[in-house]
Amino acid sequence: MRARVLVRPKAGILDPQGAAVERALPALGFAGAANVHVGRLIELDVADPEQLDAMCEKLLANPLVEDYEVQLLDAPA
């Protein structure tokens, strides 16, 4: 099973990378982009999808300051 983990900065914490991207877009001519946040993507083949939450809690994300979302894809890469 192929899994995709999206790791995002928790709402309410300053996200300077998101802010920088949000400032850069209109300066390059792209209007109307707002609420930009920058996170991380981890993709992996897993034998047991039940373990994914624990993997995220323990290593893939830092739950103090990050939220994570697990997506199960149909087939391994």
Binding site: R23, A24, A27, L28
Partner: protein, 750 residues
């Protein structure tokens, strides 16, 4: 490597057309056929095309470089090895070299600059020296704060990349320089210099020896990095296998400083344990150049089995494996009985390690796949018998560079001119750049960026190393001979202000297309000047690099022979500083300073074209001044020492005030040309400050002339009239206003 057309499927032996597409000339191709005794096959053609490229073979510069002085009492290792080295007290040597990574940085500045740093660091530890410092020399077009501005994008990327790599690997970046000039707009320059320390007996050479010995590859796995234009050689079948056929052959090398940190520690440990016969890093042209150079130096042959090379992804063709520029890899020669121990050390550092070949006595480089021989070439033919070309220099009758765009009015007075200069990209404070670098890791840094004219690093016995990197390309463009002499003297001047005497020099020659006669003239004159100046300073060249063909639709770059110089001072506690220190200290001028506006920053702001030549300097008098300043700093006679360079006297005074956060009142020597006196440039001018009671000694010993006093919170310049009676105030600018102007580069790093 130039782009070309893909080989037709089932083409068999490559043709002349393929050779031309890979950058060889028709006569070079014929020479290859002669050396092979037959037309070369695909793998062989790929190997020759790289080994005989300008980048690897120095076809258009080698003959010139042979005229440079490379010997001297302090030389421990001259040109020809991975880096050069000079001897230090106490049985130590300092290895150092500068290299360029210009073309990759124009494509991807972050990775281009990062891998440039990675490459030069590998050259240092390939010798067995621990890298202790990095400096960088950068050139971009004129920047603006506008979004999407190319110069700003390149600057941001390059500085980020240098910081990322140097900081992560734990080597401090202690100095550097950056210039912004229109001719670099389409051809930026990113030169990286590194220094390392070793005990003399620890230095290892790269010559392979001992037929039967193993050739071992350790470090990162091999992928398709840097293959680029050589993809013309790819077999058509491979392209047919992928459905969407995305371009799988990246031209940009991606660096991993963490991998290199492990590689560095592993290499030094292997050397410490005496496990290696020879060591070489993999850089341009990868396995091809490393193995053939190791074989050539050792007068042996090498067999490489591509099937034994650990790959990052499956399906690489043999020629790709041989020319891959994947980063963070080293090649070594190991006696078979030592292999297990070598593998154990690599395993501890979590680095893959494979025996991929053998040293032979055949004097040939053979590429095998298991038992199958895929390529077979004479080592001498590859490494030493590439044709070398004489240049056909011709001095241009008129300037070949367009004048810069003016940025101040012709009527601007001294106050306005000073503030404009301090705010100009070439003179504004570099703090926004160097704050992105770690200058102190390894606990040796005595003078950090901005504290003195040269970086200073402590040595174990209480003495210190000083290092500087310099070149003003615009002045070299105006006068290649005198401009290059000035660049070398600038390095020596910066060292002198820190209290150091030069030991040796490295250089990176960044020029446009040498097959054009005016560029050939620039290169020839610059190398002639480099030799003369290094001989006069007794600071021989111990190594360097050449980067040619730096030109594009906008025209050629300014000729930019970047000079790096290393020196020593006996007492680290006496290292010089550039900022004024105490209220009441006297300010004095030392040296045969003969300022001229020709080729100056002020002339640039006024949009004047380059002058047809630069004034000559009194070389002997300049050398005397260097010695005088160095001595005064070493004896603790002065509180500060700063060399007068771009922007002239007024800018140098402002820099001393800003660095010391204290003002000054100075009487400018009376003379005809006010602008030249304030802002004129040229070698041989030094500003020192000293307690008032020591000035007498200074005047006697060094010919210093007192010109002012430190104090207050503004820089005040006056001019005495010829009778000396009345003073005319020229300008008065408060420290805050000076700093505000000088902080202009922060705009480029929001």
């Amino acid at each position: 490597m130039p782009e070309g057309t893909a080989l037709r499927p089932g083409a068999g032996v490559p043709t002349l057309q393929d050779a031309l597409a890979l950058g060889l000339t028709a006569s070079e191709y014929e020479l290859v056929c002669e050396k092979q005794g037959r037309p070369p096959n695909q793998v062989e053609l790929a190997v020759y095309s790289l080994m005989w490229s300008e980048h690897c073979a120095y076809k258009h510069s080698k003959l010139l470089l042979r005229t440079l002085p490379t010997e001297g009492e302090h030389v421990a290792l001259g040109p020809g090895e991975n880096a050069g080295a000079v001897t230090l007290p106490g049985g130590l040597v300092c290895a150092f070299k500068v290299e360029s990574h210009n073309h990759p940085s124009a494509v991807e500045p972050f990775q281009g600059a990062a891998t440039g740093v990675g490459g030069i660091l590998r050259d240092i530890f390939a010798l067995g020296a621990r890298p202790i410092a990095v400096l960088d020399s950068l050139r971009f077009g004129e920047p603006s704060a506008a979004a999407g501005d190319r110069a700003r994008y390149l600057l941001d990327g390059a500085v980020g990349g240098i910081g990322h790599y140097g900081n992560s690997i734990g080597v401090p970046t202690v100095g550097g320089e950056v210039y912004f000039e229109a001719p670099y707009e389409h051809n930026c320059l990113v030169n990286a210099m590194a220094l390392g320390l070793a005990r003399r007996e620890q230095l290892i050479r790269s010559a392979a020896s001992g037929p039967g010995n193993l050739v071992v590859l350790f470090g990162a796995s091999t992928g398709r990095d840097g293959i680029g234009g050589a993809s013309v050689l790819a077999s058509a079948e491979l392209a047919g296998e992928e459905e969407a056929a995305p371009d799988m052959r990246p031209t940009v090398q991606v660096g991993d400083p963490f991998e290199e940190k492990k590689l560095l520690e592993c290499s030094l440990e292997l050397l410490e344990r005496g496990l290696l016969v020879a060591l070489q890093d993999l850089g341009a042209a990868g396995l091809t150049s490393s193995s053939s150079e190791m074989a050539s130096k050792g007068e042996v042959g090498i067999d490489i089995d591509v099937a034994a090379v650990p790959l990052r992804e499956p399906g690489l063709e043999p020629f790709e494996i041989m020319i891959s520029e994947s980063q963070e890899r080293m090649l070594c020669v190991v006696e078979p009985s030592s292999f297990e121990q070598v593998a154990a050390v690599c395993a501890r550092w979590e680095l893959p390690c494979s025996a991929i070949g053998r040293v032979t006595d055949s004097r040939r480089l053979r590429v095998l796949r298991g038992e199958e021989v895929l390529a077979d070439m004479p080592v001498e033919g590859l490494v030493d018998e590439c044709p070398l070309y004489e240049l056909e220099p011709r001095r241009p009758q008129e300037g070949i560079y367009p004048p810069p765009a003016p940025t101040i009015s012709p009527e601007a007075g001294p106050r306005e001119a000073l503030l404009a200069l301090l705010a100009s990209p070439n003179l504004a404070s570099r703090r926004p750049l160097f704050e992105q670098y770690d200058p102190i890791v390894q606990s040796r840094t005595v003078r950090r960026p901005g504290e003195a004219d040269a970086a200073v690093l402590a040595l174990p016995d209480g003495s210190a190393l000083a290092v500087s990197i310099d070149c003003n390309g615009r002045r070299v463009a105006a006068d290649p001979y005198r401009g290059t002499v000035e660049a070398v003297l600038e390095c020596a001047a910066n060292l002198a202000c820190a209290g150091a005497e030069p030991l040796g020099t490295t250089n990176n020659l960044n020029f446009a297309n040498p097959e054009k006669e005016h560029i050939a003239w620039q290169l020839t004159e610059a190398v002639r000047a480099l030799g003369d100046a290094c001989r006069a300073l007794r600071a021989p060249i111990v190594g360097g690099n050449v980067s040619l063909y730096n030109e594009g639709p906008g025209g050629p770059i300014y000729p930019t022979p970047v000079i790096g110089m290393v020196g020593t001072l006996p007492d680290a506690t006496r290292a010089g500083r550039l900022g004024f220190r105490h209220e009441g200290d006297a300010i004095a001028l030392i040296g045969p300073f003969a300022p001229s506006l020709a080729g100056s920053e002020l002339d640039k702001l006024h949009g004047r074209p380059l002058p047809p030549q630069l004034p000559a300097c009194e070389l002997d008098a300049v050398l005397d001044a260097l010695e005088a300043v160095r001595g005064a700093v070493r004896e603790g006679l002065v509180c500060s020492a700063h060399d007068i360079a771009e922007g002239g006297l007024a800018v140098a005074l402002a820099e001393c005030c800003l660095a010391g956060a204290i003002g000054a009142t100075v009487t400018v020597p009376a003379g005809d040309e006010l602008a030249a006196a304030l802002f004129g440039e040229g070698p041989g001018g030094f500003l020192v400050s000293a307690p008032a009671e020591l000035i007498g000694r200074l005047e006697q010993g060094t010919g210093a002339r007192m010109i002012g006093t430190v104090g207050g919170d503004a820089l005040r310049l006056e001019r005495a009239d010829p009778t000396g009676d009345r003073r005319q105030e020229l300008l008065s600018v408060g420290l805050e206003e000076l700093r505000d102007a000088n902080d202009r580069l922060w705009e480029l790093f929001p």
